[in-house]
Symmetry: C2
Subunit: 154 residues, 2 copies
DNA sequence: TTCCAATGGTCTCACTATGAGACCACGTCT
DNA sequence: AGACGTGGTCTCATAGTGAGACCATTGGAA
């Protein structure tokens, strides 16, 4: 197991490093690297959750809201707009009374599910290790001591 | 191509939907779903970039800062702390004068590179489609018209 | 009949997270 | 002697976010 996995990991590492080097070359325009823009969107707290919710099936506005209970209407609207603007979801209005609106993944949005699934998978597999690490870190905080372990010791 | 890719996509879709359903069952504790916590961290604008930067090799504080130029010292410090707390990176202090500090990925952090690479790969492959979609969306904004296409038409 | 809920949003207000930049203590280079 | 680089922390102004009021309409319940 170590062999193949380590191989994949090394490959991933090298490719990411390579990408990063490429981005860093030339003057740094900040928005010069388009991946930044894309990652920012995905990095959004709600965006990812909405996409996952829509992975099941199309949802209406209220359904999304119920599926992701702790999102405010304001942010839900904004996230849906952003997602629609980026072409990841599609918005359909039906002339019912009152009018109903349905959101569904586009083909582009669906293509995102694969890498997203890889990430969610990783998160599920490693959440315990992360929780453990947090416990260790928090326990090691120099609360009882007056010792400042972070500032420069001079 | 359509066959295999579509197959993977369907699989990803179904698995994500399945996960989401599981999370949604029982009363929603918000923090009940640990994946939320992990995704929030990854969703962080800077976290991901720092991890990618460290994929190359260990970096010192100032090096990370130069690698990700538009991050403030404040957020860099905080992001590095969070990453360290989650066990994704390790912090080493060397007793040089002035003391130098090195950050490197842990094994857990390195394991994140694989799904992260998948995501970055997707972002690079699809950034043009996204940019195009944004263009279309922005062009379709009812600026010239007084028409409000978003609010309910009553 | 009248009142309430649900539809999909928008708008305002308060709070919080973020970025810019000063400051620190030390040592080295000019 | 004065400026700079080390890795941070601290304050302050501004940006982003969440809570909740509000809107217009219609259907169902009281």
């Amino acid at each position: 197991m170590t062999g193949l996995l380590a191989g994949n990991r090394q490959q991933a590492r090298q490719r990411l490093a390579e990408r990063f080097r490429v981005w860093s070359e030339g003057e740094f325009d900040a928005a010069r690297c388009p991946v930044r823009g894309v990652l920012d969107r995905l990095g959004d707290k709600w965006t990812t959750l909405i996409v996952i919710a829509l992975a099941q099936r199309p949802h209406r506005f209220g359904e999304v809201r119920r599926a992701v209970p702790d999102i405010s209407k304001r942010m839900l609207t904004q996230s849906l707009r952003d997602l629609e603007r980026d072409g990841l979801i599609e918005r359909r209005v039906f002339p019912t009374k009152p009018p109903s609106v349905e959101y569904r993944l586009t083909e582009l949005g669906e293509s995102l599910l694969e890498p997203l699934h890889a990430l969610v998978n990783w998160a599920e597999h490693n959440q315990e290790r992360i929780a453990a690490a947090r416990g260790v870190f928090d326990a090691a905080l120099p609360v009882a001591f007056g010792v400042e372990t972070r500032a420069l010791p001079a």
